[in-house]
Amino acid sequence: MAADVMLSVRDLRVDYGPVRAVDGVSLTIGHGPFGLGLVGESGSGKTTVGRAILRLVPAAGGTILFEGQDVLRLRGRRLLEYRRAAQLVYQDVDNSLDPRQRVGAAIGEVLTVHGLARAAVRDRVAALLSEAALDPALASRYPHQLSGGQRQRAAIARALAVSPRLLVLDEPTSALDVTAQARVLATIRRLRAERGLSCLLITHNLAIVPELCEHTAVLYLGRIAETGPTASLLASPAHPYTLALRSAVPEVDPARRRSRIILPGGTQVTAVRPEGCAFHPRCPLAIDRCRVAVPELRSVAPGREAACHRAEEVLAGLRPTAATAGQLFRTGPW
C-alpha cells in the first residue's frame, strides 16, 4: 500500500435486505490535508458508504483499510481507537445535538469520556469552540439558541474533541442557507489545513466539492460512475451522469450557464437493478449496448476512471441534444 494512503476501500458491498445499496465501491483517501468528494443523488448510496466506513452499518463484503488496519475486523479497544480517529459530522444539525444539553456540556462529555481531567475540560471546550470559529461564551447556550450554522460549527467542534485524522462530512451544509454554508465550508477548509485532516465530503451538490476536495467520486445506484481529480472531472466529465449533475448546479452568471440536462424519473431504489447500465433508463446518451451490457469502471484518461460505454466520446465533447433528451431538455442560456 502506498505510503500516502490513509483509507483504502476495496469492493465494498452493503445490503439492506434484498436491496444492494452499495455494490462494489472502491475509494482511496490520502493522508491529510486531503479531501475526497462523494457525490450523488438521494438513493445513490453515498451516505451508506460513509456509514460503512465508520462501521455504523455492516458491510456485506469488501475490505476497508485504515492506516493499514483491517477496519471490518476491528474489535474492542482498537475499534474504539478507530472511532476516535474517524469522526462523523451529520447533515441534520437539529438532531445531532441533544436539545436538553448545553453546547459546552455536549463537547465536554466527549472529552471526559476519553479521559481528560475535569479541571481541564472547560478550557479545552473553549479552545475547540474558538477553533470552529464560535464565541466560547456559546458553551452555556442550548442548541435551539444557536443558528443552524452555529449548531453545525458546534457539531464540528465536538467531532474535533477527540483529535480525529479523518472527518466524514455527510451533507454538512445542505440544511443551511448559502451564506451560512459558505462560512462553514471556509471553516472546514481552514481546519483541514491547520490539523492536517482528511475529509470525506458526502453531498448531492457538485458545486461545494472544489472548496474541500482534490478528488471526486460520483456514485449512481450504489456503484461508482466516475472518479478523478476534482478540477479535471468538473471541467470535462467522462460520464453523462456527471454532465447532468454539473448542469443542475444553478449559476448566477448567465454567460456561464450550461445547457441543462433534466434527468427524468429520479433514482429508483429497488431490489432489481435495470439491465445493462443502471443509468441507461435516464441517460440522454444511451445506445443499444447500454441496455444490455454493464459498463465496467475503467481507466479513460490519466487519473480518470469511468463506468460508461461512451466515456471517450463524452470526454471528447459528446453532449445530449434536444432530440436525444426529448422535451425535458432545455438549452441555455435562456
Binding site: 442557507d177 454554508q181 465550508l185 472544489p210 472548496e211 444553478p250 449559476e251
Partner: protein
C-alpha cells in the same frame, strides 16, 4: 397588477418581522424574495396568505389581488381566495401532506372544498398530475411512498388543478437534490410561461433566483434593502449585503 403589496408591516409585539414598502407580482412573472434565514421572507408570504395574524402578529398595510384588498377580509372570504386563487408551496412538501391519507384524497378534498363535484375533482387532479409529468396513478400512494421531488410536484399539481393565479413558493427546492431542484424550477418556468401564473419565489440562494426570477427583492432584518430586474441587481448590486449573498454562492470552478 396581479399581486400588489404596499406598506406591509408584520410585527410581533414591538419586534418588526417584515416590512415591505412596495412589491408587485404581475401575471406571467416570477419575482424573487432573497435573504438569509430570519430576514422576513417567509413572514411576508405568511402575511399574504393571511396566516401571520393567526401566528399572533399584527399586520398593517395593503395586499391586493387584482385590485381587491385582502387585508381585513373575513375568514370565510379569505378562505375563498386562499388555496383557490392564491396557492402556496413550502420547503418541506412532506409536512404539507397529512401522512395518513393517500395524496389523491388530499388533492380531491381540496378541490371539492373549492366547489368541484367529485367527478370533476378526480378528472382535474389526474390532468394536473400529467401536467407536472407525474403518472396519475401516484395519487393512490401515501405521502411517505413518494420522494421529496414527487411530493413537491403533487403540491404544484394541486395549485394547477385549482387554477390558481398566484403561487407563493417558500424555499420549495431547498430540501431537494440539485437534480430534482432543476426539474422543479423548470416546472415553475412553465407555469409562468404557459399558464401566466404570478409567482412569488422565496430563496436564500441567489443562483436559483438568478436562473428563475424576472425581478428580485433582497431582504435583510425584515426590510427590503434593494430591488429591481434580476439581471441588473446581479450585475450591479447596490448594497454590500447583496454582494455578500452573491459571494456566498458556491461555484463549480472553486
Amino acid at each position: 397588477m396581479k399581486l400588489q403589496i404596499r406598506d406591509l408591516r408584520v410585527l410581533f409585539g414591538d419586534r418588526l418581522a417584515a416590512s415591505v414598502t412596495a412589491l408587485d407580482v404581475g401575471a406571467g412573472e416570477i419575482v424573487g424574495l432573497a435573504g438569509e434565514s430570519g430576514s422576513g421572507k417567509s413572514m411576508t408570504i405568511q402575511a399574504v396568505l393571511g396566516l401571520a395574524g393567526t401566528a399572533g402578529a399584527t399586520v398593517t398595510g395593503s395586499i391586493r389581488l387584482d385590485g381587491t384588498e385582502l387585508t381585513g377580509l373575513s375568514p370565510a372570504a379569505l378562505r375563498a381566495v386562499r388555496g383557490r386563487r392564491i396557492a402556496a408551496i413550502f420547503q418541506s412538501p412532506a409536512s404539507a401532506f397529512n401522512p395518513v391519507f393517500r395524496v389523491g384524497v388530499i388533492v380531491t378534498r381540496a378541490l371539492r372544498l373549492h366547489g368541484l363535484s367529485a367527478a370533476e375533482a378526480r378528472d382535474r387532479a389526474a390532468a394536473a398530475m400529467r401536467s407536472v409529468l407525474l403518472p396519475p396513478e401516484l395519487l393512490r400512494r401515501y405521502p411517505a411512498q413518494l420522494s421529496g421531488g414527487q411530493l413537491q410536484r403533487v403540491a404544484i399539481a394541486l395549485a394547477i388543478a385549482l387554477r390558481a393565479e398566484v403561487l407563493l413558493a417558500d424555499e420549495p427546492t431547498s430540501a431537494l437534490d440539485v437534480t430534482v431542484q432543476a426539474e422543479v424550477l423548470e416546472l415553475l418556468r412553465e407555469l409562468r410561461d404557459t399558464r401566466g401564473m404570478a409567482i412569488l419565489f422565496v430563496s436564500h440562494d441567489l443562483a436559483v433566483i438568478a436562473e428563475l426570477c424576472d425581478r428580485v427583492a433582497i431582504m435583510r432584518s425584515g426590510r427590503v434593502i434593494e430591488q429591481g430586474p434580476t439581471q441588473e441587481v446581479i450585475a450591479a448590486p447596490q448594497q454590500d449585503y447583496t454582494r455578500e449573498l452573491l459571494a456566498a454562492v458556491p461555484r463549480l470552478d472553486g
